[in-house]
């Protein structure tokens, strides 16, 4: 694996190799000295064309725990508004001998352009591109789901996939790279995916998607899924007529206290997931966000482990310890 651009192209074996490596990386985070020498002398560039403090910090922490040198390049706005092209920015970084480029970009396909044009020869890690993909987010979500099942069954995570699990993903599917990356990866690993969204926030052309699409959240939750993932709703969507009001969105598609109660009454083992940052009171109520079902903070810590695993595998080309 030379680059990590999407989960659509990731095979089951590649995904499990990353997840198993991430499990071991997570153990490093539990030690008093949270550092491995694996990438000493290597340079990782965080090339962020979109503001994302959380993702950037996660990648930075991951690289540093592997002893890599980290350069943070934060380009406000697009490369064009900045006056420099993506090509020139990338080649400037290559002149500094970067070994890996972690790129976050508002445009779908920007990481793939970097990886396929021959402008640079570093490993490219997609840290979120437009509405396309966010593969490390999906990997950390899957890592969290593996742990969730292992905790319930007392089994191991190593080497396992998600066969038989059911994950409900709720919200703005149309604009969500998290939803797309999760759909491909979850189904590659044997899980079943249900999308729940207002019809305005679903793309046209999903006939071939390996996901069931429903409009009614209560119907989806009544199946006691293994997890329900709430997607962040951009408040400005309301003004573009995607839905009439925040109150109506929360009532129909939010994880309200009433829906949380219904899960409890049903004795469901449903985990509550959110990629963050949360809009409390919109897509997720505080009661749900703070409930014992919530894996939100676990997702954050798993994010560092998954990104360590990806950097390690891409830069050493090796899935051994």
């Amino acid at each position: 694996m030379k680059h990590l651009l999407s989960t659509q192209e990731l095979t089951r074996d590649e995904a499990i190799a990353i997840l198993d490596t991430a499990d071991r990386m997570a153990e490093v985070g539990q030690q008093s000295v949270k550092k491995l020498p694996a990438l000493r002398g290597r340079t990782v560039v965080n090339l962020f064309f979109e503001d994302s403090t959380r993702t950037r910090i996660s990648f930075e922490t991951a690289a540093k725990r592997l002893s890599a040198d980290v350069i943070n390049f934060s380009a406000k706005g697009s490369s064009v508004s900045k006056g420099e092209s993506l090509k020139d920015t990338a080649q400037t970084l290559m002149a500094m001998n970067a070994d890996a480029v972690v790129i976050r970009h508002g445009t779908s396909g920007a990481p793939q352009r970097l990886a396929t044009t021959g402008w640079i020869d570093a490993a490219v890690l997609n840290a979120g591109d437009g509405k396309h993909e966010h593969p490390t987010q999906a990997l950390l979500d899957v890592m969290t789901l593996r742990q969730h099942r292992a905790n319930l069954t007392g089994g191991e995570t190593q080497g396992t996939d998600l066969e038989g699990m059911h994950v409900v993903i709720v919200g703005d599917i149309l604009h969500s790279r998290v939803a797309r990356s999760n759909m491909w990866l979850l189904t590659t690993l044997g899980a079943r995916v249900t999308f729940v969204a207002p019809p305005t926030l679903l793309p046209v052309g999903t006939q071939h998607w390996p996901a069931r699409i429903v409009f009614d959240l209560d119907e989806a939750l009544a199946e006691n899924p293994d997890a329900v993932m709430l997607l962040r709703v951009q408040r400005e969507r309301m003004h573009a007529a995607f839905f009439p009001s925040e109150a109506e969105y929360a009532r129909w598609w939010g994880l309200t206290p009433e829906r949380l109660d219904a899960l409890d009454r049903a004795g469901a083992t449903t985990a509550i997931m959110h990629p963050g940052p949360m809009n409390r009171g919109l897509e997720i109520s505080s009661e749900a966000a703070d409930s014992p079902r919530s894996t939100v903070l676990r997702q954050v810590s798993n994010g560092v482990a998954v990104r360590m695993a990806c950097l390690y595998l891409l830069l050493t080309g090796d899935d051994a310890q």
Partner: protein
């Protein structure tokens, strides 16, 4: 093809004598065609013995196809304003190499071709270049702004004699303004060429809306945004009794609307581009902006529908929408990239590949869709004429047995944004006669028409 000059030809005011031996007009029975001083002098086998005098250049054609010089109803020459992308000189060289003896130059230059001054400038630049006839298209609205009618009458009566009006690149969206434009151009038998794109439904649109856009998360350009405008405009054209031309139709639904309109007797003509005859939105998965174009590449179902529509006459013409861009406008992220692709130098090969070699149409049909009908739509005299004695010698000699691997670096256009890079396409333009003068011989540019710049 062998070119042998028996003696240096006389060029006293004329363009010489050319004998095309063993050529197949419209791909039909082989014969000889004699061109003398800008006109087709004789057509018929066995001309050679009597007419081969020392002033005649003989071209052995070996059964190659002779078509009337191609006429492109939809070209972007970029001058004035974007001479970094293309000039009238380079664009018309590209046209000549592609077999075109006339191109209609779209109005979205800078300044916009919305006054008599600008259209006369473009017309004059074309005349001075001497590679092909340049017929300017005038803007419908001032600055393509969609608010106020441009000086349509002044452009019509200028030296450029504009008959086609278009805001191409932008849709004439205001239905009342469209109605007025359709009505007004009747004064001089003009036509409005509509770029059918509902603007609200295509805000920030990046590619065809469908399964591929769903996967890639690129904002969709839905077929309905094209079809809604076509439906409106054919109804408007019928209501006011005007003719309307639909630029670069790209969807199956649009084909059905045009078919319906023609059955109702609406005076509508429709155009498809070579790229919409061949390429699909699956190519966008590469994120290579060379495939970014407006209207966007559609699905295979749409491609099959537009091919069938050319075959049954629903679509009247192939227009290239030749849209050259400098490298830096394509060497970037998808959403930052300019829309458009070059097409003049590959159009005839793409048409052979998609329509002739598939058996959908004949070479006689090619002459109709790429020469005669576009000339008729634009009311361009002396172009798209039959290959008969007395007609202007605007001709293209084409070898359908040749094969070319497309290399944009070899193109005469300044644009390197050909979506066919590396693709093996059939056929090659061997010679282009522009008003009796070979601007292309042996597949290579020669000299502009001797009268260029001197008229």
């Amino acid at each position: 093809m062998n070119t042998q000059t028996t003696e240096t030809r006389e060029t006293t005011g004329g363009t010489g004598r050319w004998l095309l031996k063993g050529v197949s007009p419209l791909g039909e029975e082989a014969t000889d065609v004699l061109v003398v001083d800008g006109l087709i002098a004789q057509v018929g086998a066995g001309l050679s013995d009597d007419d081969l005098d020392e002033r005649t250049t003989v071209i052995e054609c070996g059964g190659q196809i002779l078509l009337p010089g191609l006429v492109d109803i939809h070209t972007h020459l970029r001058e004035p304003g974007r001479e970094d992308a293309e000039t009238v000189e380079t664009g018309t060289r590209a046209a000549a190499k592609g077999g075109y003896t006339a191109v209609f130059a779209m109005a979205n230059s800078n300044p916009v071709a919305d006054t008599a001054g600008v259209v006369e400038q473009v017309w004059g630049l074309g005349r001075d270049a001497g590679w092909t006839q340049v017929q300017p298209i005038g803007a419908v609205t001032v600055g393509l702004g969609g608010k106020q009618l441009a000086e349509i009458g002044a452009m019509a009566e200028s030296r450029a004699q504009v008959r086609v009006f278009s805001d191409d690149g932008k849709c004439v969206y205001d239905p009342l303004l469209m109605r007025r434009a359709l009505e007004y151009v009747k004064t001089f038998d003009g036509v409005v060429a509509q770029h059918a794109q509902e603007p609200r439904l295509t805000e920030d649109a990046q590619m065809n809306e469908g399964t591929v856009s769903a996967d890639l998360g690129l904002t969709g350009w839905p077929a309905v945004a094209e079809e809604a405008i076509i439906a409106r405009d054919v109804l408007l054209a019928q209501h006011v009794g005007s003719r309307v031309h639909i630029c670069h139709l790209s969807t199956k639904g649009s084909v059905e609307l045009i078919r319906w309109a023609k059955e109702r007797g609406v005076d509508v003509t429709a155009e498809v581009t070579p790229h919409h005859l061949l390429l699909t939105d699956e190519l966008v998965r590469t994120f290579d902006p060379v495939y970014k174009v407006n209207p966007p590449l559609r699905t295979d179902e749409d491609v099959q529908a537009v091919r069938a529509a050319v075959a049954d006459g629903t679509i009247d013409v192939v227009g290239t929408d030749h849209a050259p861009h400098p490298t830096e406008d394509k060497e970037c992220e998808w959403t930052c990239a300019a829309m458009g692709m070059t097409g003049l130098e590959t159009a005839l090969s793409v048409v052979q590949h998609t329509l002739v070699d598939t058996g959908a149409i004949t070479w006689r049909d090619v002459a109709r869709i790429m020469s005669r009908t576009p000339a008729e739509i634009g009311r361009l005299r002396g172009q798209g004429r039959p290959i008969e004695p007395g007609e202007p010698a605007n001709l293209v000699l084409f070898d359908p047995a040749a094969e070319t691997v497309v290399d944009p670096a070899t193109h005469a256009s300044k644009g390197r944004n050909s979506p066919y890079r590396g693709l093996r396409l059939p056929g090659a333009v061997k010679a282009t006669f522009f008003q009796g003068h070979p601007v292309v011989l042996d597949g290579a540019l020669t000299q502009p028409h001797p009268a260029a710049g001197g008229r």
